[in-house]
């Protein structure tokens, strides 16, 4: 990718107080689009994701696995720059400055930075920045057209604004957990924070749309993003089914596992393939899909069974049909079966885990999805990061952002940012670092 290409958000500066997953995902996107994202951090109150295991293993080490147990164990004094995985994928392309906002000198520096920033983002619990003295009104005194975007679980307005969420909490409250499961069983839910991604997307939309509004009017604004709200749109037809037809999705036959009701199809679902716990998804929702499947399997006799003659019949007899299909898939490699079915016009895809995506997936490789960016401590040869899932012909986005860097070390950019933006001298900065103000 050409380093001379312009960036969509070139010249836009984001003073970024986000931490943990959801807010950091929003500003990650802004950085990918070329905004200058300056993370404001503190070594006394570090972002938990800087120190949460597992870590990138050092030479000769094997890393612990992620889980509740390891999450409980972050107490030990771990280097802030020790490649903790949650930090890694959330902070490519961002700068980091270390500032103690509770010291008046630190607060004064933050106010000066607001004055030269287009956007201020944060994801603290309600009231945190107000207690420092950095309210929206104070920010506007520094810069009248500032765009201030808060990102929290429940938002800053409303009767339960003091409630907090993590991804799984928000997923529970908005129905996303309930939508993963087999009929007649408890919810299986998600094993990760899908809504940290979704909240981040909409946090980015909030910033981008506020920038467009400012371009037209000259006005900044305050946007209150709540992680819960974007989630309700992810199951909109189910809400309408309840309100229009009186049919709640809390019913014994729902969710229907991997089957889909609209449009219904068969065979449709995950089928075992050769190998240990390996699976292939097939989703036949049309006659051409069904004819392609039959052809790919060599026109087996069972495909002519009257029970499978029409789409309605196949859906009605899906359990029986699945047995025939799985008898075939269970002897096949998942990718071989996928390729064969696709060559016959059948929607099919291997169930890919993280290893498959990194080491097998030819599409992600051809699209150069994974990219590596230099890290001050780890050097140029760092672990790959997930890329930006879209291309822009004139302003190519990049996980390394405009600065072409991986995740920042804590305070890596303190001196450079404060000398260039606020006109401080290196000696001023060093003195305040010594006093614990810039730490």
């Amino acid at each position: 990718m050409s380093s001379t290409a312009p960036a969509a958000l070139s010249g836009i500066r984001v003073l970024d107080f986000t931490r943990l997953g959801f807010g950091s995902q929003a500003t990650l996107i802004l950085g990918c689009l070329g905004a200058e994202v300056i993370r404001v951090e503190s070594s006394r109150h570090p972002d938990p994701i800087r120190v949460m295991p597992p870590y990138v293993p050092r030479p000769g080490e094997t890393s612990e696995r992620f889980g509740n147990a390891t999450m409980a164990a972050k107490e030990s004094a771990v280097s802030m720059d020790r490649g903790a995985i949650f930090f890694k994928y959330n902070t490519g392309g961002k700068k980091s400055i270390a500032v103690n906002a509770r010291d008046p000198r630190g607060l004064d520096i933050l106010k000066q930075l607001v004055a030269v920033s287009d956007v201020v983002t944060e994801s603290f619990a309600l009231g945190t920045m107000d207690r420092w003295g950095l309210t929206y009104d104070v920010m506007r005194e520094q810069r009248d057209d500032v765009i201030y975007v808060s990102m929290s679980g429940y938002g800053h307005e409303g009767p339960d604004a003091s409630y907090i969420t993590m991804g799984p909490t928000a997923q529970a409250l908005t129905g996303l957990t309930h939508l993963v499961g087999l009929p007649g069983r408890e919810a299986a839910g998600w094993s990760f924070s899908y809504l940290d991604h979704v909240g981040g997307y909409l946090g980015a939309v909030a910033v981008l749309s506020a920038l467009l509004h400012r371009q037209q009017t000259g006005d900044g604004q305050y946007v209150d993003v709540a992680q819960l709200e974007p989630a309700t749109a992810l199951s909109g037809p189910l809400l309408l089914d309840k309100l229009v037809n009186g049919r709640s999705s809390r019913r014994p036959d729902f969710p229907p596992g991997n089957r889909r009701l609209h449009p219904a199809g068969a065979p449709q679902g995950a089928y075992r393939t050769a190998g240990k716990d390996q699976w292939l998804v097939i989703s036949c929702t049309t006659e051409p899909h069904w004819r392609g499947l039959s052809a790919a399997l060599g026109a087996p006799a069972w495909a002519d069974d009257a029970r499978f003659a029409t789409i309605e019949a196949r859906v009605a007899n899906a359990d029986e049909l699945d047995k025939h299909v799985e008898a075939w898939t269970s002897t096949k490699d998942k990718y071989d079966a996928m390729t064969l079915l696709q060559s016959h016009g059948v929607p099919a895809g291997a169930v890919q885990d993280s290893r498959d995506r990194l080491e097998h997936d030819p599409q992600l490789r051809a699209r150069e999805h994974f990219t590596s960016w230099p890290h001050r401590e780890e050097g140029a040869e760092t672990l790959p990061l997930e890329g930006v899932p879209f291309r822009m012909s004139a302003t190519p986005p990049s996980t390394g952002g405009a600065i072409h860097r991986g995740p920042p070390c804590l305070g890596e950019d303190t001196e450079a940012v404060l000398t260039s933006l606020l006109g401080m001298t290196s000696e001023d900065v060093a003195a305040l670092q010594g006093d614990g103000v810039l730490a």
Binding site: L9, G158, Y194, L212
Partner: protein
């Protein structure tokens, strides 16, 4: 004033990317959904009002098309409308776009400020570019599915498959990224006066939404095994509550949990001083689960959820999707909005703004459109 007031978006999409136009409409753009004479295919995706298929009866269509206008246009009319547009969002593969005269080179020649966004299953190129995929296939290839499902049996084998969340989550992620890219392109256009082409790969979008899984594999060398959502406990009324104990947020998490357990007399061994040590807790985590289960039997789910939250814990009741409409907090924020049904059946509540933007409120200016409802208006505007 809305964020996208005065901007015109032309939407030529199948069901995979309608959510993009929904977002842009809420932000204030004039989104014109161009449909074939017999209607967009998504008009026939259920569920339907009264469970009866019909052009104006698809609840799926209603949800994804609020705020838009609908026009049925000839190729010549479409070309004229595209000449006046700021953005076109389509779901055509490269060859199909070329065949219809909708490739970027052609569109930008007459309208160089046009932002063209193509949302396709695998992107415009690559070895899988011509493969077929629906949302389920994309959830499989992207990695969400391998990460989700019920826990293994004691012998570590699985008797249940990997599971994909219901409701087109991969498509919606791709459509959201499309909106993000369009907005970014519009910000840049204000300075450069140039449009550009955006190529959204739904597969890459799906592969980008698995949070810690990929980096965890890179660090440990092993893909995480799938298992049911952590810390779900069954309350007295039989409903479940996600009851997270995120120790990493600080010592108050365990302190507050313990106070709640002791108040109900169910703390058991957790009152022992040993449990003040997070490393000890880590090695006796099942006792925390046991104590939570004892607490849960004494309270209904909604009560348990609010007790946890009042103690500073990120707890939430596991609701069915339609139950969130009664959430007092979301209602107070004005999140849900009343819009007319396109079938003339009166108003019905829809999911509304994804955030509260005080300077440029997100709102849907109109209900979901009837087929071709705005054709005459759109053509009349052309001749003005």
């Amino acid at each position: 004033m809305s964020a996208l007031g005065g901007l015109r978006v032309v939407e030529l999409v199948d069901e995979s990317a309608e959510y993009c136009g929904r977002l842009l409409a809420g932000l204030g753009a004039d989104v014109i959904k161009v449909e074939p004479a017999d209607g967009a295919p998504s008009r026939h995706i259920g569920p339907f009002a009264g469970d009866e298929d019909g052009l104006e009866r698809s609840l799926h269509f209603w949800h994804y098309n609020v705020g838009k206008r609908s026009a049925v246009l000839s190729d010549v009319q479409l070309s004229d409308v595209l000449g006046t547009a700021d953005v076109v969002v389509h779901t055509l593969r490269a060859d199909d776009a070329r065949a219809r005269g909708l490739d970027y080179e052609v569109l930008s020649a007459t309208n160089p400020r046009l932002v063209v966004c193509a949302v396709t299953p695998f992107g415009q190129d690559g070895p899988w570019a011509d493969y077929l995929a629906d949302d389920l296939v994309l959830m499989a290839l992207g990695g969400s599915m391998a990460a989700c499902g019920y826990s293994p049996l004691p012998d570590r084998t699985y008797d249940t498959p990997p599971l994909a969340c219901y409701g087109d989550q991969a498509w919606q992620t791709a459509a959201t990224y499309a909106a993000i890219a369009v907005l970014g392109a519009l910000v840049w256009r204000a300075d450069s006066d140039r449009g550009q082409f955006i190529d959204v790969s739904a597969h890459e979008c799906s592969a980008s939404m698995t949070e810690w899984h990929l980096m965890n594999y890179l660090c440990t060398g092993k893909p995480a095994r799938r298992g049911a959502t952590a810390m779900a406990v069954e309350a007295a009324d039989g409903r479940q509550v996600t009851a997270l104990i995120p120790d990493f947020l600080g010592p108050h998490i365990f302190t507050n949990l313990l106070a709640m357990l002791e108040a109900d007399g169910v703390a058991g061994p957790l009152s022992d001083a040993d449990y003040a040590d997070p490393m000890y807790r880590m090695h006796h985590y099942n006792e925390i689960g046991n104590a939570l289960a004892r607490l849960a039997t004494k309270h209904d789910a909604d009560e348990l959820f609010r007790m946890g939250q009042q103690a500073g814990l990120p707890w939430g009741v596991i609701r069915a999707a339609d139950e969130a409409v009664e959430d007092r907090h979301l209602v107070a924020r004005g999140h849900f909005v009343e819009l007319e049904r396109p079938d003339g059946g009166g108003p019905v509540t829809h999911s509304g703004a994804p955030f509260i933007a005080h300077g440029s409120p997100f709102r849907f200016a109109r209900r979901s459109p009837r087929l071709g409802e705005h054709t005459d208006d759109v053509l009349a505007e052309l001749s003005r």
